[in-house]
Amino acid sequence: MSAEYKPEIILEISNLTKRFPGIVANDAISLELYKGEIHALLGENGAGKSTLAECLFGYYQADSGEIRLLDQVIHISSPSDAIDYRIGMVHQHFQLIDTFSSVENIVLGTKSLNIIFNLDEARQRIKALCDQYELSFDINAEIWKLSIGEQQWVEILKALYVGIDLLILDEPTAVLTPQETDKLFSVLKSMKESGLSIIFITHKLREVMAVADRISILRKGKKVATITTSETNPKELARMMVGREVLFRAIKDASFTGEEVLTVNNIWTRNDRGVDALKGVSFSLYRGQILGLAGVTGNGQKELFEVLTGVRKATQGEVILSGENVINFDPYQLMLKGIGYIPEDRLRSGIISDFKVSENLYLGRQRLRPFRKGLFIDESAIQHYSKELVSQFDITTPSVNHLAKNLSGGNQQKVILAREFTQQPKILLAAQPTRGLDVGIVEYVHSQLLMKRKEGMAILLASEELEELFLLSDLIAVIFQGEIQAILDPANTTLEKIGLLMAGVR
């Protein structure tokens, strides 16, 4: 930057602290935001980025510290204050009402809406915004009919419609294809040029280098540094994020493909809305092989996993497990036949947070020996088993009788891994196993998966992180709108090609 150019500071955060029970999420963070810049907040999961953003948006209130907007101290005690201050936010998990249309979601509660309303004027304004940013989707359709990428745009339009000077985006590319991400970045750049200031929250180094002007790195609730993008590189950023040298690659042995253990043939199923979510999915899993499943969330992965674990009924197709067609068997039988499952949403489907750690470690096998002796649960056998697992998998917990909800996310995931691995399943279905976890735990999970692969387990690994898939998979299948587009060897393809396939471009 030239010496005469003095950037205008529009937002100043001083010593902001926010606590939750047992944790300091934001620890005396100070930050300056310039007008017309894209400022990235970079950090691992749990570093405090989202919390800081929610404090700016009024969803949470900071415990101490000061926020100045254009040099005036302001108090943001609720989202309506933030909206008054022309601060808008696009959340990581969309805040949209499924049964309303985009128009309704955008105008909900806005001041310009009359008590007895007519939506025509709003429709025109929204259409104009869409034209401005070259968006084309049906703004009158109900949200559940839109694709994830389109829903993302509705979230952004919500903020633009009411008029903002500052836009906060929380992990906006988590559910986008590489191409959609590029489109987002170009729109952000043109917004920047028209004077909008943008805070961009992410944990992805590549994106930060691509789109941000300056980067503030957060680690464990504290700000580590603010740095200009042009003066840094990914390696340095990673080190600041984690506090130590980061191993970028787990070491994968050469793949050896054993016999076919699972054959999935022409699976069709419907989602909760009654629409076909899987349309003739076929693939095979082999002993000692990791098959990666790439795809934007919402293209059928959830339904595929549900069919393979017996939770959802397939309308057509077969699943041949060691010679037997187990299609539409119930979850218990599939579990007994050797299908292990690491679900996507830990807290929802993986563990029972109000149960003890020990109880979670045998979830599903409560009717089997050795956990059962006669009519009753064999408590001493369970204690023995749990203690062994806790030490084997290095699970941090005061005791095996502690409730699972008191464990950290990483340790909860370890509980799930421990439970599934000790059953020695032939096949492991892993959905987003490292989502929301610290780098340390991510490394651990990766090494565990590779170890099991070496031992001969067949693994289906679904992930939104393409790097993870490239790192671990022997083959990568791409799913788009319920169909497998292709199955490729990561050594012979590129991120871009996979990205295109994820967007449906063959």
């Binding site: 979850p331 679900p343 029972i352 109000d354």
Partner: protein, 359 residues
């Protein structure tokens, strides 16, 4: 200049404390008694006299204690029925109807086998009641599994239907022809539950209640089935994905729950009332829900709260005699206790923390 401003935040506790739980329940009961004192004043009675006679009437003599245990028995059964269902987040509100169904099934058994020897007849009666209660609750589970009809609403509707069914039977084929009241003739003595203390008509029903409380405790806390029940209650999605079948589990839980309530009805008939009447249940089904909630859905705790409420009901008769306050105040007090206990559970969830704010 730095001025420290103290703010208070209300935030969730990290660990729930047993001391806080017990304290909150005691506080709640005291608060409820205070409010109920207002009700007593409204009737113009002396509050201290009323409470004294209430307590003495409930626990102040051997006669009182045994009668209290008698009154506790049906509450314990319906309380256990509630615990089994509510722990799985299955809202079985049909305890009232299932209780009546059990009494009716018991009566039916007696009419079918009037001459059987006592011990065999009791077993047959209890089995009939079990089946009846299970069947009635089973209807709700079936229409939930098949038609997605909420258990709450179907059990409430069925309550009314069974009440009418009882009325129908008592007005027609089961009516005691010697009176105009809709009630049955006295059941034969060989169908009675053994009397433990003849003088105070304390019958073996309480022992059965204790027995089933222990069985229920073992079932819920110590068996794989109970594990599945609790898992379903805490997190049905995780439970289902790990192989616990929600529909089958719903069914057996409702069968057990309905059976327990029905047993209460049968026991009340052959232990205490010895004839079938329209009012054989004095709100036992609903009070059983309060008893269960107060016991924090713990089967053994139901013994304690059941006895407490039995004493309350029993004592209210003495209170009416002594001070003229109608016995129906007992229902009001019970409901007020429930409300306060529910509210007090907040104390166990949250705590107040001081936060320093430096300006």
């Amino acid at each position: 200049m730095k001025i420290a401003v103290l703010k208070y935040h209300i935030e969730r506790r990290e660990h729930e404390s047993t001391l806080a739980t017990i304290l909150s329940i005691i506080l709640a009961i005291l608060a409820a008694l205070l409010i109920s004192a207002l009700l007593i004043r409204m009737d113009g009675a002396n509050v201290l006299d009323a409470y004294r006679s209430l307590f003495i009437g409930g626990f102040g003599s051997w006669r009182a204690i045994f009668e209290t245990l008698n009154k506790a028995t049906p509450l314990i059964f319906t309380g256990l029925a509630t615990v089994v269902a509510f722990r799985a987040q299955i809202w079985n509100i049909g305890g009232e109807g299932q209780f009546l169904a059990g009494a009716m099934a018991a009566y039916l058994a007696i009419t079918l086998f009037p001459k059987s020897p006592n011990s065999i007849l009791i077993i047959v009666i209890l089995v009939f009641a079990l089946l009846a209660g299970g069947a009635i609750a089973g209807i709700s589970s079936f229409i939930k599994n098949r038609f997605n009809v909420d258990v709450i609403v179907s059990t409430v509707m069925i309550n009314y239907i069974i009440k009418f069914a009882l009325s129908l039977m008592l007005y027609t084929s089961w009516r005691d022809s010697s009176t105009f009241y809709p009630q049955s003739p006295f059941i034969p003595e060989n169908s009675y539950l053994p009397m433990l203390v003849e003088k105070y008509r304390f019958h073996a029903g309480f022992i059965l209640a204790v027995l089933f409380a222990i069985i229920t405790f073992l079932l819920v806390e110590k068996t794989p089935a109970g594990y599945e029940l609790r898992a379903l209650g805490f997190n049905p999605i995780a439970a289902k994905s790990r192989g616990i079948n929600p529909k089958r589990t719903l069914m057996w839980i409702l069968l057990v729950s309905g059976s327990l309530a029905a047993l209460g009805g049968a026991v009340e008939l052959i232990g205490l009332t010895h004839r079938l009447r329209l009012d054989i249940s004095i709100n036992y089904g609903f009070t059983g829900i309060i008893v269960a909630m107060l016991a924090d859905l713990n089967p053994l705790g139901v013994l304690v709260t059941g006895i407490l409420f039995g004493g309350l009901t029993n004592g209210s008769f003495a209170m009416q005699v002594k001070t003229g306050v109608p016995t129906s105040i007992a229902f009001a007090i019970q409901a007020i206790i429930l409300l306060f206990v529910l509210t007090a559970s907040i104390l166990t969830r949250y705590t107040i923390r001081k936060v320093e704010d430096a300006h």
